[in-house]
């Protein structure tokens, strides 16, 4: 019940295309859903985050869509660029345990020119 399931495991997109990564969770008590970007040899960096009181959040080319009833959330990267090539992780945490992020297994995105 504490897991966050992420798909696909890897994704290849052409430059200018849309990259979509999906996550699903079971625990309805989760109330914070961040996405992290990780480049090889680096630690994860927060990209964008959402709370369940909104269905969508957009920051530049990055959008989170949140479906509370389906217990799913997704990351959309518009106009994907080669510099977006990285591993992306979704995560979730509980309201009384915001320190403990529970991560998905990651999606390796490759954007080809």
């Amino acid at each position: 019940q504490q897991q966050v399931k992420q798909s696909p495991q890897s994704l290849i997109v052409q430059k200018g295309g849309i990259s979509i990564i999906n996550c699903a969770y079971e625990n309805t008590a989760f109330d914070y859903f961040p996405w992290y970007q990780q480049f090889p040899g680096k630690g994860p960096a927060l990209l964008i985050a959402i709370r369940p009181d909104v269905s969508e959040k957009k920051e530049g080319r990055f959008t989170i869509s949140f479906n509370k009833s389906a217990k799913q959330f997704s990351l959309h990267i518009m106009d994907s660029q080669p510099g977006d090539s990285a591993t992306y992780f979704c995560a979730a945490s509980l309201p009384y345990n915001t320190d403990k992020l529970i991560f998905g297994t990651g999606t390796r995105l490759q954007v080809f020119p």
């Binding site: 345990n97 403990k100 297994t105």
Partner: protein, 113 residues
């Protein structure tokens, strides 16, 4: 300003040996976290410090793992009697407070031969 730093960047040790991994958080951050990232997986929570005290150590896998933060700044993760299964990247993160964004360091890659 400086980000989270971790030393060493790489550590190779033999099975049964003791290792210490160090984390220097961002100055002024009261919360500090340790995660473990195995190959192809998302980070897995180990322990969280608020100030000098371990507020949540529920992710430590067993009593061979121990972490300290004696002055509320630098933290050391200690692993006794290392096993080959301990091989992973150990990530440290810090945040201004418990609910703040977690900033990750580059990690220490531990290899147990």
């Amino acid at each position: 300003g400086a980000g989270v730093s971790q030393t060493p960047s790489n550590k190779v040790t033999e099975k049964g040996k003791y290792v210490e991994l160090r984390c220097d958080p961002i100055s002024g951050h009261t919360a500090l976290y340790w995660y473990r990232q195995s190959l192809g997986q998302g980070p897995e929570f180990l322990i969280y410090f608020q100030g000098t005290g371990a507020a949540d150590d529920s992710g430590l896998p067993n009593d061979r793992f121990f972490a300290v933060r004696p002055e509320g700044s630098v933290s050391t993760l200690k692993i006794q009697r290392t096993e080959r299964g301990d091989s992973a990247v150990y990530l440290c993160a810090s945040s201004y407070d418990r609910s703040g964004e977690q900033f990750f360091g580059p990690g220490t890659r531990l290899t147990v031969l």
